[in-house]
Symmetry: C2
Subunit: 241 residues, 2 copies
Amino acid sequence: MTVFSSFIAALSARDTLEDRERDLIESLPSRAGRYRRGEELVAEGSRPTESCLITSGMAARTIYLMEGQRQITAIHVPGDFVDLHSLYLKTMDHSVAALGACTAVFVPHPDIVRITAESPHLARLFSLTLALDAAIQRAWITSLGRRGAAAHLAHLLCELFYRFRVVGLTAGSSFDLAVTQSELADVMGLSTVHTNRAVKQLRATGLVGWVGSRVTIHDLGSLAAMSDFDPLYLNLRKEHR
Amino acid sequence: MTVFSSFIAALSARDTLEDRERDLIESLPSRAGRYRRGEELVAEGSRPTESCLITSGMAARTIYLMEGQRQITAIHVPGDFVDLHSLYLKTMDHSVAALGACTAVFVPHPDIVRITAESPHLARLFSLTLALDAAIQRAWITSLGRRGAAAHLAHLLCELFYRFRVVGLTAGSSFDLAVTQSELADVMGLSTVHTNRAVKQLRATGLVGWVGSRVTIHDLGSLAAMSDFDPLYLNLRKEHR
DNA sequence: CGGCAAATTGACACATCTCAAAGCCTGTGG
DNA sequence: CCACAGGCTTTGAGATGTGTCAATTTGCCG
């Protein structure tokens, strides 16, 4: 049980890792950090020399507009290597902030480059995480563009359920969503008020139980059906990549 | 002037290419294709063994929902290497279709892998294009979530202007946007009718001229200001990546 | 117990959707 | 060269979804 366990679990769900690759990952040096709701892990405009890996809680990529509005463009759960982007893009065009309390570790870019040079297969798996992020963003774009508030929320819950389950953070059909409704609103591009109505509406269907931060999915099939959710884009099948 | 000229131009805007790297790219074998509006370059559910590079016109990543609705999650212009994603994700979770008429060439995955193995720097530049796609998607998510129709459209025009200019497809401050309003609607998550109203509204500001498929940006500064556009995310500065 | 952030509700304003119809291009066949 | 068909653009009117503002309730923590 190390800080990299979740990351290894997330990769292992998608391809077979050899012992040597596992060792290379475990050999990465890391510096730990602990954050409270809203605290920034990576600031917009900065030029990071490390990438961060979420170890507990959740973090979000956030873009701020004029007039104090903001949009969350991605949610990251434990095991997600956030910010490999900064390896290539250099200057951050957005910030990464904690959603609820969260912990993360930071790994220097040169060490990432080193282990990908030693194992081309690992290099591909790091690129896979980039491509996977992009696939999730496409699903979000689709929800934002073509689904109403309730369906959007249902789709998001399905996605998070699968993503939490991969890293062992579900208990049966429930998981902990330590997120404020106002943060959810920034994910779905809605007002806080309307987000609350969407939550209410979803509860009324009976498909989902939601008490405090505890979300229980009573009927995943129907929830997926009402939001046109198909887990294909999460690439949860082991393939040789 | 080869089929790879635009791609090389797009990379050269972001980093310096050595002659050897240029030669490696030019050495790639390719198969050409020509498509009419709506024709699919890559089908959802397929398992591509090639990646495609747009050489003229535009293509779009498209996700279909029930009830015939669709959402375009990305627009690709000449010089864009679409579908590097399929190198990692294996099964397509969306399709790539022509917007207006378009031509593209297809490059076998093994050849891409080969030249990235020969040049780690090229490998990083290929990853850069993945990361850049993701940055653009973040901007789209922000537009979908937090901007009204007119501002969304203005932001999109700014983006496309910069992207076309990099590959030499602008004439002064104008460019050819051979796209149907119904396709634009699928980009912005709006109805065709409302998209038309947004176009009308933008014309009324006088910041943009739009006759047929010819778009002329009369005042880029104001257009950027009204849509909170900042080209940072397009990474148009040469850096060592 | 008191204080504060978060969740919830109601009423009304505004953005966007749907449906329906009319006008406008462009390619094609006669 | 003209007439027509079909797709695209444009407009109007009424329905629906979502935003805003303001107030109340709930839940947590000191």
